[in-house]
Symmetry: C2
Subunit: 426 residues, 2 copies
């Protein structure tokens, strides 16, 4: 709190024109939003890994969030390490391994460490990561001493390993468990699934469980499915596209995690929370496809995006839906194609036209509902990237082409909506 | 659709100044909103039972929703039966068992019946309620014929009995199951928990599972707990009170249902959906108290309202929290008290003052944090109704008084926020 007051005082007295934030985790991003949006400060975030929110959301989701923040005036230097801070009385220059940045303020937000010194001195059991070890009753290694909140680690219900979750919500719930036990009751903290949400300007980013990268690191044979869909009925006047990514273990179809980006309302977090609620029960895709979310056009589609995500992941595991992720699309787009790849636009001519005009050598229009009657126009001998607005019609096109024996196709996950949100302009 | 077009045409040509809606279910209420809000029509709803949304939400929640609609210009006649419609070419007069209502338009929305005539003639098994009977694969009594949507009944996962859920979302999910099975796959529809949401002007009303009345009708020994709390951190600028009611089986602590009222955003429905997601797993209160919803101040409190609701219900079952519902409060308020009841206001003096001035004979101020030092002022020999803004401080006061041996207290559930939302002005 002392640091927060000091920061605010320095800003309020007009001493900060430029700020530098070290670390693109959620504290760093929230600070970047506050400095830019509330105070109009030219803010730069330096992050050592190749994405913001590393370990929490996939690189494609992270790119979408980063693009939104850039549009709102925040600058990012990724894969860059801060090596030295310089200045008299206060830091004025920051040296990374790539550049020197002039700044009026530096905020270090590179992670949280449990403050377990007292517990350690008292002889309580401390984990390798420095957190106090507790059992389900929140008892430390001394059964007369309880601990909770930012100082303990608890069981991750997906990996089965200890995890560290320094969140006020955890502390509050653990506090009640401890209170009950201290008062002679018998209550247990079940463990954590790692739910998370952050507001960044006009969007919210939320997640629970494992991201695709974390799942791979944890040794899961996992895949992820991405869906872009309206957050409510397509005919309802106030609606926004929402982007959800589901991480699933291939063999068991067990749900490992979900991440979402949507507007700053509660719709995205609501979907993440529905999955967070069932994650302790180890649901499979079938449970996601059949979640009975309350339906009415002002709140959801008849086939809610969460159900559609479950269906899409099922199709993916069945290999009916063979996909190209947006970063793979961007990579492919940059490469030179000597006519061996064609981007087949399955939308109506009006949507496809500007792309066909601009890229006649590789972009072709063939609306999904005309595929069968115009099947001769399909470039059978090329690699075909199927494209539509959100990935639904291109998936239907893939099914139709499969039935015609044309299987060298890939469906762009999340469609052009995803490409645009990702910050790619073609 | 023909009826909808006819209604719109008649309204658009200026022929409708007054409308009457028969039935206060969700179609009736959505029509009342549309007629009033979009077209400025003087609209009246006649409902045969004693509340709107009967069987879906509790009478107190229904009263809150009704009060909001009344504030927006809709009139209601409850406990009233329409007996006759009269007019030439079109209905102009409606006779109920209590009055005659002049009107330019009548909309009948008294429930939906499955259109199972064809199936019946074809010899398929039809239930007592007239719906087609299907198994989990969505097969009718003829295994080569499948059925889904508004024409079938499916298993209610809470009561274990068949239920009828004519919703587009059900139809969509069942459609996929049927498609999979027709194509040689093997998929099952798990049954329904009965989730529901409706937008009414500026609020949303959502529910899943059983309301307290339905739970009693189904033979459950059930209680309900009501919580009023901000939908996000109390210090976040944009926030609203949310009202949730949880229905629990007393002995087993099994969750039977939840209902909510909040603003028209997605926050309330998000909480209902989190419970809808776990209801098939037959959760107990412990699961509600420990739900790990994504936390960040723009989206929730550190102790989210849903966790607080679980805690409140636990306290209620433990008889630590002995409550008075808002309708019981209203009833008690109307009665003459010869000094045997006192309303003890546990808020600060500023909040209590206007009530003490107006009702000095029965309203007393005693802030919760001064209870112990001013314990002599507690009117021990009277029935004490403990009051605060949302029911939290009054609960704490109840605990404190219990410890002092003063147990003739009742805590007003949801506090003055609930009284106001309910439409009571004292």
């Amino acid at each position: 709190m002392h640091a927060a007051i000091a920061i605010k005082e320095r800003i309020a007295t007009g001493k900060v024109g430029k700020a530098l934030i070290i670390g693109g985790g959620f504290i760093g991003l929230e600070m970047a939003e506050a400095l830019t949006d509330m105070w109009g400060i030219e803010t730069t975030v330096v992050e050592i890994t190749s994405q913001i929110l590393p370990g929490i959301i996939s690189k494609n989701m992270a790119k979408m969030a980063q693009d939104h923040m850039e549009e709102n005036g925040v600058s990012f230097f990724l894969k860059e390490r801060v090596e030295r801070l310089e200045g008299e009385n206060k830091v004025t220059r920051v040296f990374t391994n790539k550049r020197t940045i002039e700044t009026d303020l530096v905020i270090v937000s590179v992670g949280i460490e449990p403050n377990s010194e007292l517990a350690d001195k008292a002889g309580l059991k401390i984990s390798e990561s420095g957190a106090i070890v507790v059992n389900k009753k929140m008892q430390t290694s001394d059964p007369d001493i309880y601990a909770g909140g930012d100082v303990v680690e608890v069981n991750n219900l997906i990996t089965g390993k200890p995890g560290y979750y320094p969140l006020g919500s955890m502390a509050n719930r653990q506090g009640r468990i401890i209170g009950t036990n201290l008062a002679g009751g018998n209550d247990e903290f079940p463990g954590a699934v790692g739910s998370f949400v952050v507001k960044l300007f006009d969007i919210s980013v939320s997640a629970v469980g494992l991201s695709i990268d974390t799942a791979h690191k944890e040794g899961f044979d996992a895949v992820s499915a991405m869906v872009a869909q309206f957050d409510r009925a397509h005919f309802y006047p106030e609606k926004d596209l929402m982007y959800l990514e589901l991480v699933v273990e291939r063999k068991t179809e067990k749900v490992l995690g979900i991440q979402g980006i949507g507007n700053k309302g509660d719709g995205t977090t609501g979907r993440i929370n529905a999955v967070a609620a069932i994650l302790p029960y180890q649901p499979t895709l079938h449970e996601i496809s059949n979640l009975e979310l309350a339906y009415s056009p002002p709140f959801s589609s008849a086939m809610d995006i969460l159900n559609a995500l479950g269906n899409t992941a099922e199709n993916l595991l069945d290999e009916k839906n063979r996909v190209l992720d947006v970063d793979e699309f961007a990579e492919l787009w940059k490469q030179k194609h000597d006519g061996e790849v064609v981007f087949l636009d399955c939308r109506g001519w009006g949507n496809a036209k500007p792309f066909v005009k601009r890229y006649p050598e590789k972009w072709q229009s063939l609306p999904q509902d005309q595929l069968l009657t115009r099947i001769d126009e399909v470039p059978k001998n090329k690699r075909i990237i199927l494209i539509c607005n959100t990935g639904v019609r291109s998936y239907e096109a893939q099914i139709t082409l499969d039935q015609q024996g044309i299987r060298n196709t890939a469906n762009l996950q999340g469609g052009m909506a995803c490409v645009k949100k990702w910050g790619m302009d073609i």
